[in-house]
Symmetry: C2
Subunit: 397 residues, 2 copies
């Protein structure tokens, strides 16, 4: 029989149109090219927003109020504390540059240099906190933006101080370059591609449009019922995704193109991450690089174990998350900090029990569910603190 | 200066942590691994359905009525015309097999064989139409299923007749095998993987659950307002995607695993298609293979031009789309046919003007918008035909 089959197979081989193979979606096929699925997500996002936009335009006309958007950042156009804070940051840059210049010509000893740098860095971190907490006219969004700028500056200056050892000190290109790790000569792209620049600019503007359109659609109402927290998850998660694209792809690439900064690795393929650790190592490459270079590796060199080093990085990251959220809202709550620290046992669990696509799904679920819960905690507390007081006393503002 | 920079670069090369590179999401990077995005879509689909399911369960208890699902297929459990039709199809299989046996032993001449085959094939196509149109108790879903079975059988028998030239004729494995192209010996997989089988079965069942849950959520209401057609698009498109996965991945793989059928290429990477043509060539491989082997290539051999051959394939495909929709609904409308034929100018337009991700987005938009419009046309006509008559006269059923 088998000989017979073999003979037949030779006869019909010219007609054969099947061969042994797996379906592409089976994990055994090893196929992973789903660029089209990403396009599908973008098309769905644009279409569903276009529909909302069209429907509302037909019903109510244009509802987007540019003043309202601006008022998130400033209360009074003649009193812009956040903008002043950002302009003030130049003082710290000049101080760091001045210290390095002094060191390079030998006016400062190593010890004095280190002391001046340390004071400069501490003040960089503490000064905006004091201002944000004291100035009444500071809005949460404005405060968070200013604190974000100062945090970035702190990380940059720390890197600058760490790396710049008696070389020719220069700084201002580094301040604007989309990286946190100082180098004496960054790789540069050969020229500014205008079409690339314009496309990123278009993306930056249209990314802003989506949340504005959506928020103008429904009145912002906060129901503090456990189940309704579920319905907040999807938009919150989508906002985070849009923020990611807006900041890490469009904005940083825009700045990099403008400055001809060559290294565009602002993120790696975190969307494929099968462990929590992989996600944290790949979604924010500037910070990851900084942590690795100026925090984790020095810790390892000083004899700390790998596991302790990782935990320390998480702790530092948790501190900065808390710093960027609690101070602008003017309420100290442990939610961001706890959220970050909860990543440690979660990372252990996922790495231990889940593999491949299941691990990836677990990472997504932790992002989709975890983040909004932390956000909701703050919204809840902020609401209770301000509006309940408001209804009893003289109003929050 | 450049020499100076070069010297510095050598000094700091050990500290260098940047290199010239593009961001992954830039098309210039050539990166296309987005498996994680697919997982994201699945997680979002499951989570949003879980929410709906949970909310409704808390509000109303279990609403899913198995009887209602079954009643889509049959009206009266003692009178199942669709099931009878499917069972009847064995007659045509036996007739084809009998003809080949006769031919192989020389009882039939080539001419008689061709005649008998042709009659058999024509009856395979026409007989169920007559039954579906005549039998009153045939439901649209039942009729469509039966017609689908007969269409598949027609394509299979045509392939059988075309390929089987005096070899040992066998048929029944081919009838159940998930392919439309006959071969004397199909590639076989070495063994039945139980875990694979069970996973596909689980997927098959849970894919059924999603539309059932969703349809039990909101009462099915049909508003014939032009704008509201937009709001039908997303669920319709999602249903199509779920159908694709359910049929082409889960079901066909399940059957193939059961029959140890080795060739699992039921679809290719149509989600990345950048032209309409690529989509039609890759989303339904069994039909595409059949068309290529038994329709397009013979046409080319007989001297027809490439362009005319392609149009003929589209025409045949449009005919079968119409056949599978108009007959079970018992109303002859040109929407499916026109929808298919509209693909030709659309394909030309996309191939001519759009490239890369823009082409891919255009394919997605044509799927998301085009399909539901055709479906809506039928729903509209069906509604007008049956329920308007119903309110005026004696009711449709």
């Amino acid at each position: 029989m088998s000989v017979h089959v073999f003979k037949l197979s030779r006869v019909s081989s010219c007609l054969s149109c099947h061969r042994l193979q797996e379906s592409l979606l089976s994990s055994a096929s090893g196929y992973r090219n789903y660029r089209g699925v990403l396009n599908w997500c973008v098309v769905m996002l644009v279409l569903s927003n276009a529909r909302l936009f069209l429907e509302n335009l037909l019903k109510y006309g244009i509802l987007v109020d540019p003043i309202q958007v601006v008022s998130l950042f400033i209360k009074d156009p003649y009193n812009m504390p956040a903008a002043c804070l950002v302009i003030m940051s130049n003082v710290f840059i000049v101080a760091a540059l001045y210290t390095e210049r002094r060191l390079s010509v030998g006016c400062f000893s190593e010890c004095v240099g280190l002391l001046v740098h340390s004071i400069n860095l501490s003040v960089t971190l503490c000064f905006p906190v004091a201002i944000v907490l004291m100035v009444k006219s500071m809005t949460p969004v404005g405060g968070a933006s200013a604190l974000g700028v100062y945090t970035v500056l702190f990380l940059k200056l720390y890197s600058y101080k760490d790396v710049n050892k008696r070389d020719e000190p220069y700084l201002y290109y580094f301040v604007f370059a989309p990286t946190l790790c100082y180098e004496l000569n960054f790789p540069r792209s050969p020229r500014i591609r205008m079409s690339f620049l314009l496309r990123r600019l278009f993306e930056m503007v249209s990314s802003w449009m989506i949340p504005i359109i959506q928020s103008s659609m429904k009145p912002l109402e906060v129901n503090i019922i456990p189940l309704s927290s579920l319905s907040h998850q999807v938009p919150n998660h989508l906002l985070w995704l849009i923020f990611f694209y807006w900041f890490f792809h469009s904005s940083l690439n825009f700045i990099a193109e403008l400055l001809q900064f060559g290294d565009r690795e602002f993120y790696r393929d975190w969307w494929n991450s099968e462990t929590i650790t992989y996600f944290w190592q790949n979604w924010n490459i500037p910070v990851h690089k900084w942590c690795l270079r100026h925090f984790y590796k020095p810790l390892l060199k000083s004899g700390v174990s790998k596991w302790l080093g990782q935990s320390a990085v998480f702790l530092a990251s948790a501190f900065f998350h808390e710093y960027l959220v609690s101070v602008p809202l003017k309420m100290l709550r442990p939610w961001a900090f706890m959220g970050m620290m909860a990543q440690l046992p979660l990372a252990w669990f996922v790495a231990r029990f889940l593999r491949g696509n299941y691990g990836n799904a677990a990472v997504w679920i932790s992002l989709i569910i975890g983040q909004p819960i932390a956000v909701l905690m703050y919204v809840h507390d902020y609401y209770v603190l301000h509006y309940r007081e408001g209804s009893a006393g003289g109003g929050p503002e």
